[in-house]
Symmetry: C2
Subunit: 470 residues, 2 copies
């Protein structure tokens, strides 16, 4: 912790291009880390100090630091300064720091196979939408979504996910993070201060909520999903949950906790944010409905077309309590428009023509096949590793054999051109990051033509990093 | 100013539906205003008080008040409470308060004719984009835009608008307000506090900048455009300008002031936000290039496809100084995605195939025809009214004859099913609102089949509201 820039004894040459000070400073620091001139754990000077040294604006240095933190080169915590990432002194899990130049085989969590996007069918829906849209629908869209699309989504979500939806409470956005940000800012405007998050999840989702003005309070996750009892202690105004299939640990929220979290929300006036990111992808015919149906007045349900169609269509939806509608409309007005009306109308056409259901069924079969391939190869490898998590979705956990660190498998996988991450890369705080012998396998991510190769290479990497068993 | 709810002597029945307290409260207040039970100027109880009276959460009342302010039924100012709009005691210009139930003929400013949207050509571009996109482009899009689209836009903007653009500094967003919000938040993160705005402009743009965390400082607008000398006094970190065609007064920023504003930005380190919302629509063959070309390091140029294609496509672009790029990427990451990748790729196809240029030429001819029709009818009316503003864009001012109030014309137009607004409706502060005998005519707004009727009805309304001339 006491290593600092000056003590490191390095004559650090930071080449600044006067035409692009920020860009060249960032490149210089990246180079210095990449080449080892700046070692992990080295503390960087305060932005004010470095700015004075270099003769640049302090904001330039602060922006560069923020960028490099976002990219994973640096780590920072308020009050503790900024350091080169990759030491135990940093709360950032070390797995996130293994960087690759565009690895060929991606098995990161939370990414769907974009090669499965039904290009022709989607283009046909856009064409119908463009031709059939009334002139009014081609103008500036209503803030919360095109009415017809809200109606179609309400019907679909009631049918497919058991959501208690009426069109008035459906909000269409341009992606999950867009709606999360909108809801977060609406909560803050209404006086909310703290949002609880599962101790494992997407770092970006936490950053979105923090940027909306909310304090984050991580709660534990165990074999029954998020620990709802822990909500009492953190005085949360809201909680972000993944009830159908906890991301990334893969467990569903237990029935008792579903009841408990809605009871908590009713009692405290808090809001449950239900991230149903892959609720459509369950392989065991025991689909769990949305928690939202238990209490539509205290749960905001969120879903996305990024997994079922492709991230490139940029559409997501929420079903919110009625009392939030006016606040959301105002938040939308001052944050810029949501999803474009043509894409929304194309989605309505795509769902109404049952192409959406067919696409989900196709994907479900393919993702299930990949999951079973991974299961089979892991067992056959004899490494002692075990696949964990519900048979659902686009990812699972692999618990490594005793004594095998996730870092070692991540590094061995990288040598085989496979990008995968340890569970700690998804941790909201250092305590959660302690589970260092588990990796998250996003088998949904690779395009179909390389999916089997990616899975096989990963299992080979696990076997290679594991002690040989008699 | 002393009228208040209790003093008004009205037994106000606010019917609350327990299943939708906010919605039913809003409806009740709207009804009370519409039917005259709540008169203009009546002060409403504090949200805390009304909440206690009704037994609802204070936030519910605050949200309903905010919604009704946004809709124009109520007016509010920090420290002065909330009142029924429509009195001189309100800083809101009275013209904004004339409300219509979906008037048939729209001549409001800032709205393009969506009926001119080239449906088939756009759908063809989407189809090509969907078929030709590499798989990578179907995944989560890069935060600032798809690289190919940034390249195409850089070429187009250099050619068509003289913008000093390279693809690295082009940012694609899903609308002007989206990019304005993103730039605003990036400025705030870098320490900016105050943004100057023209004293006449879109209320929504001011609200977007305020929501981003900036204080607004209105500066005067005269016959040479925004008064750049006034920037010194307000210590602004940035200024939002409409240099090509001031919105809505219609004057271009004079050459001397173009030089002055970039000199000011260089000297103070401030940023000029150049809103080039209709720069493509000039009818006199003397197109003025972008201010951005004078100093690309201190001007962020913003343009949109909402006017040239349709708001429903949801695309806009900015060209920003290099030093802002990393900050904008981080702001995008925590605010949710920008424009969807497929629409971006469709735009690239649409521009590269020169369909975009053709569409702009078609629209320019139609809007020019409407402008000339309005000019001719106003002169022929003999009312003494005069059309003002550059021969450009989708709107102009009409100065009414001496003694004729904008309010009277707006009301007479409403009786003829024409929605039009006084200049004061665009005012950033009460002083600017003093120009009460000028209306803004958005001749671009109506669909082609009713455009001529709308213009003729408006001119008839002006003549009807004007004293007869000998």
């Amino acid at each position: 912790m006491t290593d600092d820039w000056a003590d490191s004894g390095i004559d650090l040459h930071l080449a600044l291009d006067p035409r692009d000070k920020a860009g060249s400073l960032a490149s210089s620091i990246r180079d210095a880390i990449r080449t080892g001139r700046l070692a992990p754990g080295t503390r960087l000077p305060a932005s004010r100090t470095l700015a004075a040294d270099l003769g640049v604006a302090r904001n330039t240095v602060a922006e560069v630091y923020a960028l490099l933190v976002a990219e994973g080169w640096l780590a920072a915590r308020t009050g503790s300064g900024t350091w080169v990432a990759g030491r135990a002194s940093s709360p950032a899990p070390t797995e996130t720091l293994v960087r690759h130049e565009a690895p060929r085989l991606i098995l990161r969590g939370g990414i769907p196979d974009a090669s499965a996007f039904p290009r022709g069918e989607w283009a046909a829906s856009v064409r119908r939408a463009a031709h059939e849209a009334p002139v009014d629908a081609l103008g500036y869209p209503p803030p919360l979504g095109v009415p017809r699309v809200r109606t179609v989504l309400a019907e679909y979500l009631a049918r497919a996910r058991g959501v208690h939806a009426d069109p008035e409470r459906v909000v269409v956005g341009r992606g999950f993070a867009d709606l999360l940000s909108l809801i977060g800012r609406t909560l803050v405007a209404a006086g909310a201060r703290t949002v609880a998050v599962e101790e494992y999840g997407h770092e970006t989702h936490r950053a979105v909520l923090a940027a909306a003005g909310l304090r984050l309070a991580p709660i534990p996750v165990d074999g029954d999903g998020a620990d709802i009892a822990a909500l009492e202690a953190v005085a949360a105004d809201a909680v972000l949950l993944t009830p159908a299939h906890q991301f990334p640990t893969g467990v569903p929220l237990s029935p008792a906790r579903r009841v408990a979290v809605t009871a908590w929300a009713r009692r405290t006036g808090a809001l449950v944010l239900e991230d149903d990111y892959d609720g459509e992808f369950r392989y065991d015919h025991r689909a769990i409905g949305a928690v939202q149906a238990l209490d539509p007045d205290h749960v905001a349900y969120l879903g996305t077309a990024s997994k079922s169609l492709a991230p490139a269509v940029g559409l997501a939806w929420a079903v919110v309590p009625q009392r939030m509608i006016s606040g959301l409309a105002e938040a939308r007005r001052v944050a810029g428009a949501g999803a474009d009306a043509l894409s929304q109308l194309a989605l309505a056409d795509f769902i109404e023509s049952h192409r959406y259901d067919r696409q989900v069924r196709r994907l479900r079969a393919e993702y299930r096949r990949r999951r079973e391939l991974l299961d089979g190869l892991v067992v056959a490898s004899g490494s002692g590793a075990r696949v964990r998590g519900l048979a659902a979705g686009l990812h699972c956990l692999v618990e490594l054999p005793a004594g095998v660190a996730a870092d070692a498998v991540v590094a061995e996988a990288a040598r085989r051109e496979v990008a995968v991450e340890g569970l700690a890369a998804y941790a909201a705080h250092a305590t959660a990051a302690a589970r260092t012998s588990t990796i998250v396998v996003g088998y949904g991510a690779p395009p179909a033509r390389v999916a089997d190769e990616a899975i096989a290479e990963l299992v080979a990497a696990i076997a290679s990093a594991s002690p040989s068993r008699s």
